[in-house]
Amino acid sequence: MGATPADMPIPVDWYLYLSAALFIVGAAGVLMRRNLFIILFSLELMMNAVNINLVGFSRFHENLVGQNFVLFTMAVAAAEAAVGLAIATALFRNRQTLMVDLFDRMKG
């Protein structure tokens, strides 16, 4: 890893640790929680882990491409939240529940 820029008080490693931790929490949530809302929140966590990563490196490399990219990610995340919530609503109307382990009609 190259030298940290002079005006960067926290070294880039810490960003990576934080991002990795956040990502693991999110992935665990997606894989293990039963409630569809919690899964959606966990997805947001994973996305934000990526954002932190991008921002950290943007600062580290002293160019704005990473930050630029984060703006797009946020927009997509907002759209995804809208779609995800709409799906959740539709599912609830059909099955009166949001516990994903009950949605197993495709069982072979």
Binding site: L31, F103, D104, M106, K107, G108
Partner: protein, 633 residues
């Protein structure tokens, strides 16, 4: 000639397409016009070609396009005009046109009117292709196409089970012969590397093939001819084919298609002349068929069946002539036979028409005064068939017997002479039973007896004139117009056989007188039995020859023999294969494969839990493994 020849077959083809597509909803009751006009066009162009080819030494070959081009297998889609195909063209389009006109009256009001004319046009196209082909493969195409049309038209009244069965029988029996024909064509290609007539005949004349190969080719081709021209033992389909409408019987099963076998042998005259053993087989089969079918003809009660067996017998005569190397005379008999047999069939159709569909001669009689036009024309046809001077049949049949005599085949000659006697007998038996004596139909039919419309009478009259005068085309010896016209086609074959033109000697006149006397004797005999003493003599002879009569009446049990052997064997064999091979091996293999995959599916089925998180876990693990591998390896 090169630029219009293709139109000769294409005109009827166009008529077929138009009539078939538009006939049902639009043309309907006037469906006859387009085919008739197309046939007129073909006839006109055939006449033009006929006049232009007169005296030409070489055939004219018009290549339209290359049909097959695979390595050394080159087959052009080419039409060939020479004197032989010109004569055939005139017969097919001329007799065809007359029969088309006749059909306008005969088929009037039939629900399948347009269908009839469409198939007839398709037949005309196929037959014209057959005679115009310049190579064996194109000939084979026409050959199969006429067989197909024959199948369609025999089964024209498809709601009648007998008609449907007869169509199937004709198709299947012809397959037997065509199997041989197909093998013959292959053998020609293997031996000579080409299928063009010109190329093949040149190589045969130059002695490029051994005697064994030539005999093989000749016999295989003759097998096809036996099927199509209904020679013993493949004759069984033709009498059954009479289930079709009468114009079909006249055009396809008397005048044109069944003579395709004769045409094939005459066309391949060089091959047959180089294989004398095969030529002997042709003569023997022809002679045997001539008398065999004539004998059966004596005992038939159905007027069309009499004519059908007569056709088989006359085709036998043609093969007898071919067997003696008298190619031109065989074609001459083909032409005269086309005239008078078409006339007889159309006349019989007119009789049937006037009686409202009755075909049994036991229920006819006394019609001479009621339908005079039909009567006189039909008698002209009968005189021609019996070979009475100066009708066409006299000249051609006598030429055949004369040429067989000159060839030294006295046994064939004697058999042919007896067959001529029988021919005259059964022909006039038919005339006497139909037109003489007391009327034997019921009151209702008798009241409705009527002469046929002009569209049926005109073709009858034209054909009657042709039957009267047609014979003068082929006067014996050096006087024969048709013989000298066909000379360029048959010169190579005659050269191989060493046949010279001959002048008329005393023996020829003697033979003529003998055959004329024999024919008149046959007529007199028929007159004695069926006019003079119809009450007791038919019964007397029937009782006297009871066992023989029974055998002949049942057509020598040939059909029964086939049913008990070939058909039985095929059916039982197929059933065995069905129950043993098909059910166990084929079905077993298919079911086995299905069973294997079913088992495999059952094995991996639990992997699909239907829970989305399980799949996601799999995805994460997969990505983790890949990333790890990329980063650390």
């Amino acid at each position: 000639m090169e630029n219009y020849v293709w139109l000769i077959p294409v005109l009827p083809l166009a008529a077929f397409i138009v009539t078939l597509l538009l006939g049902r909803w639009w043309i309907k009751e006037s469906a006859h016009w387009i085919p008739i006009l197309a046939m007129m066009g073909s006839l006109g162009l055939s006449l033009a070609a006929f006049i232009q080819i007169r005296g030409a030494k070489e055939p004219v070959v018009v290549e339209l396009w290359r049909w097959f081009s695979v390595g050394s297998f080159q087959v052009p889609f080419a039409l060939q005009i020479d004197q032989l195909s010109a004569v055939m063209l005139l017969v097919v389009s001329g007799v065809g046109l007359l029969i088309f006109i006749y059909s306008k009256g005969y088929m009037h009001g039939d629900p399948g009117y347009y269908r009839f004319f469409a198939y007839m046009s398709l037949f005309a196209f196929s037959m014209l292709m057959l005679v115009l082909a310049s190579n064996y493969l194109l000939l084979y195409f026409g050959w199969e196409a006429v067989g197909l049309c024959s199948y369609y038209l025999i089964g024209y009244y498809y709601h009648k089970p007998e008609a449907a069965a007869a169509g199937k029988k004709a198709f299947l029996v012809n397959r037997v012969g065509d199997f041989g024909f197909g093998l013959g064509v292959m053998l020609i290609f293997v031996s000579f590397g080409t299928l063009d007539y010109v190329g093949v005949f040149e190589q045969v004349s130059a002695g490029a093939a051994g005697q064994g190969v030539l005999i093989g080719i000749a016999l295989l081709l003759f097998m096809g001819a036996m099927g199509k021209s209904a020679q013993f033992p493949l004759h069984v389909w033709l009498p059954d084919a009479m289930e079709g409408p009468t114009p079909v019987s006249a055009l396809i099963h008397a005048a044109t298609m069944v003579t395709a076998g004769v045409y094939l042998v005459a066309r391949s005259s060089v091959i047959f002349a180089s294989a004398p053993a095969a030529l002997l087989v042709v003569g023997a089969i022809g002679t045997f068929t001539a008398i065999f079918a004539a004998v059966i003809g004596i005992c038939q009660k159905d007027i069309k069946k009499v004519l059908a067996y007569s056709t088989v017998s006359q085709l036998g005569y043609m093969f007898m002539a071919l067997g003696a190397g008298a190619w031109a005379i065989a074609i001459f008999h083909l032409v005269t036979h086309a005239f008078f047999k078409a006339l007889l069939f159309l006349g019989a159709g007119s009789v049937i028409h006037s009686l409202g569909g009755e075909q049994d001669m036991d229920k006819m009689g006394g019609l001479a005064k009621r339908i005079p036009a039909t009567y006189y024309t039909l008698v002209a046809g009968a005189l021609a068939l019996s070979g009475i001077f100066p009708f066409a049949g006299f000249w051609s049949k006598d030429d055949i017997l004369g040429s067989v005599w000159r060839d030294g085949k006295y046994l064939f000659w004697a058999v042919g002479l007896i067959a001529a006697f029988i021919t005259a007998f059964y022909t006039f038996r038919m005339i006497f039973m139909t037109f003489f004596g007391k009327a034997r139909m019921d009151e209702e039919t008798q009241k409705h007896v009527h002469e046929s419309p002009w569209s049926m009478i005109v073709p009858l009259v034209v054909l009657a004139v042709a039957s009267l005068l047609g014979g003068f085309l082929g006067l014996p010896g050096k006087l024969g117009v048709i013989q000298s016209f066909l000379e360029p086609v048959f010169a190579p074959a005659n050269h191989i056989l060493g046949i010279e033109e001959h002048g008329l000697k005393a023996i020829d006149y003697a033979l003529m007188v003998v055959s004329l006397l024999v024919a008149m004797l046959g007529i007199a005999f028929a007159w004695l039995i069926y006019v003079r003493r119809p009450k007791d003599l038919p019964l007397f002879f029937g009782a006297l020859l009871r066992p023989a009569y029974k055998v002949v009446y049942n057509k020598f049990y040939v059909d029964e023999f086939y049913a008990a052997t070939v058909v039985r064997l095929t059916v039982d064999g197929s059933r065995w294969v069905w129950h043993r091979f098909d059910e166990y091996v084929i079905d077993g293999a298919v079911h086995g494969v299905a069973w294997c995959w079913q088992g495999a599916g059952r094995l991996v089925r639990p992997l699909q839990t239907g829970r989305v998180q399980n799949y996601l876990l799999g995805m994460f693990i997969g990505v983790f493994v890949i990333v790890t591998a990329v980063v650390f390896l």
